[in-house]
């Protein structure tokens, strides 16, 4: 079997805090000795209550947050040992999509500029045809190239954010609550788009969400976080059919069903 696209071993993150309360005296232990991997082509869902450390863990996976201890390997390479060129390659291979598309896009730049900047940052040039193809792959027409963020809806902006993530043909996309800020009818469009990218282009996903129903439908495996630790992992069908850990059970029971009992 080939190496996992992402492998985190015993990683911890301690944030320095002013007040000094929380888990432990010296700062706040947001992630506490977590090991996790994402196989090639796999979608791993990460769920847990607010503050359990999901975003911190996700950010360590692409180097946005530096772990206090432990190792992160992407594509078999130890991220801590990467030089400048290696880090740049990491940023190409591992892309990120955030919750709020408006906040993650520069309001003063057109979609064209936003996309061109991604290529420029990696010393590459691009053509209009390439940009149009990129937009088409996320279901947007060429007319979006000239638009500013305020000229598009939330769902359209999230498509632009996904296009930006796809620009450099990443192997892994880390999506932190990519659909939480979107309307219900638009949410499904983006989720289906991400699922297509996984199926058709073999892109792997680390998908963070507080919505268990979304994770159940759109990920192969699930990891459940509680207070900085992973308390349960397994195939998503199994985890939600027979949750073992009390934390998972509480999350499942609290999820309101959009279905009436017969």
């Amino acid at each position: 079997m080939s190496e996992p696209i992402l492998e985190m071993t015993d990683v911890s993150k301690r944030y320095r805090t002013a007040g000094g309360f929380g888990r432990g005296r010296k700062g706040f232990l947001a992630v506490d000795g977590v090991s996790l991997h994402v196989e090639r082509g796999e979608a791993l869902g990460l769920v847990g209550e607010s503050g359990s450390g999901k975003s911190t863990l996700a950010r360590m996976a692409n180097g946005l947050v530096v772990p206090t201890s432990g190792t992160v390997r992407t594509d078999g390479q130890d991220v801590a040992r990467l030089g400048r060129r290696g880090l740049r390659r990491l940023r190409r291979n591992v892309a990120m999509v955030f919750q709020d598309p408006l906040a993650s896009l520069n309001p003063l730049q057109t979609v064209r500029q936003t996309l061109e900047n991604v290529f420029r940052a990696h010393g590459e040039t691009t053509s209009t045809a390439e940009l149009v193809a990129l937009l088409e792959s996320v279901g947007l027409g060429a007319d979006y190239l000239g638009r500013y963020p305020h000229e598009a809806s939330g769902g359209q902006l999230q498509r632009v954010a996904v296009a930006r993530a796809l620009a450099l043909k990443p192997d892994l996309i880390i999506a932190d609550e990519p659909t939480s800020a979107l309307d219900v009818s638009v949410r499904a469009q983006i989720l289906n788009l991400l699922a297509d990218l996984q199926r058709d282009q073999g892109i792997s996903f680390l998908h963070v969400s507080h919505d268990l129903a979304v994770i159940r439908l759109y990920s192969d495996r699930v990891a459940v976080m509680q207070r900085g630790r992973i308390v349960e992992t397994g195939p998503s069908d199994e985890i939600f059919r027979s949750p073992q850990h009390p934390c998972t059970r509480a999350l499942v029971e609290a999820t309101p069903e959009a279905e009436l009992p017969a």
């Binding site: 219900v184 989720l191 507080h210 268990l212 999350l251 309101p256 959009a258 279905e259 009436l260």
Partner: protein, 344 residues
């Protein structure tokens, strides 16, 4: 039939800016009895919050409402300021999605609740009002209420703050509570607790609840009846069961199909199922044309033809399931096809 706690007839709300006036809510009607919950469901911009605010007569600048709103026998649209002050709190109260915006950072939690008590009844002493605050915090499940009244909003977690806001809204026992996305900003576990608390208090006080939400999961666990809004208009109205099991409007059916469910994959043998998305994005009434506002996104518009584009459908009566009550849908189609290719 008893007099309803809330009766709305042909409510229209419009905004005027730069000399131009445009409706954002049009021809809404609803009726809500004590002890019952009516959910108002819709996507962003569909007019949910504006409708709640119109009922409170708390509209933003530049907005005006027409039609008729009766809360506990009081005509809200013709009431003067004094009457409105009396109505707010004792007849109708509102809880907002963002609990922080309802609270002043400079006042402790007790002062917020005591203020609500004294605004309603100036003869209550400060001390007595403060005592009511402690009682109320205890009632909404805040541990150590005697100590909690002295805490400031930022010292509370989101869930605790929402409990405090509920205490503030309910301290004068309003006949109607308008809850605008009361759990949207909260964790699922906290959300379940807050919904349970609202249900409990509703039964105890016998109040009517207008529950505004975009989430069918929340609606399914809390509502008796459902009003589905699309672009400021009523798309469908009916009992929870009719809306869930026999939707008559393509938008309602589409929303249901686009909502993920935790049990949805149990019998698929592990095969990935996908949600059926509705193409395009929700519009507001301002941007809608003369026809059905849903037409650009509706997979059934072709079946009906030009009518969908030129004529806005009015709500008409639809079949109900057993004990279902009134069921209305605003769609030119008499019935949805069995296999619902409702979205394009």
């Amino acid at each position: 039939m008893p007099d309803p706690v809330l009766q709305v007839e042909d409510l229209c709300v419009s905004f005027t800016s730069g000399g131009v006036t445009a409706d954002v809510v049009r021809d809404l009607s609803m009726r809500l009895d004590g002890g019952r919950t009516l959910a108002v469901v819709g996507e962003s911009g569909s007019g949910k919050t504006i409708t709640g605010r119109a009922i409170m007569r708390l509209l933003p600048r530049g907005a005006s409402a027409r039609g008729r709103i009766v809360v506990a026998g009081r005509e809200m649209l013709s009431a003067d300021e004094r009457e409105l002050r009396r109505a707010r709190g004792s007849d109708v109260a509102m809880v907002f999605q963002d609990s922080m915006s309802a609270l002043s950072p400079y006042l402790d939690i007790g002062a917020h609740i005591a203020q609500a008590v004294r605004l309603h009844d100036p003869s209550v002493t400060r001390r007595a009002a403060r005592a009511r605050a402690v009682e109320m915090l205890d009632r909404v499940g805040i541990p150590g209420p005697a100590d909690a009244v002295r805490r400031f909003p930022h010292e509370f977690s989101g869930g605790m703050r929402q409990r405090a806001v509920i205490a503030m809204a309910l301290v004068n026992r309003p006949a109607l509570l308008i809850a605008d996305e009361p759990t949207t900003a909260l964790d699922v576990t906290v959300q379940a607790q807050i919904l349970a608390l609202l249900r409990e208090l509703q039964q105890e006080y016998g109040m009517a609840m207008l529950l505004i939400s975009h989430d069918f999961g929340v609606v399914g666990s809390a509502a008796d009846d459902v009003l589905v809004l699309y672009a400021g208009r009523q798309a469908e109205y009916g009992s929870l069961r009719d809306i869930f099991d026999h939707p008559a409007h393509p938008y309602t059916a589409g929303l249901r199909a686009a909502t993920p469910r935790l049990d949805a994959r149990l019998d698929t043998g592990g095969e990935r199922t996908r949600l059926r998305a509705i193409p395009g994005a929700p519009t507001s009434l301002r941007d809608a044309g003369p026809g059905c506002a849903f037409a650009p996104r509706c997979g059934l518009a072709d079946q009906v033809g030009e009518r969908c584009v030129v004529e806005a459908p009015l709500p008409t009566v639809r079949p109900t399931s057993e004990g279902g009550g009134l069921h209305l849908a605003a769609c030119h189609l008499d019935r949805l096809p069995a296999t619902q290719e409702v979205a394009r």
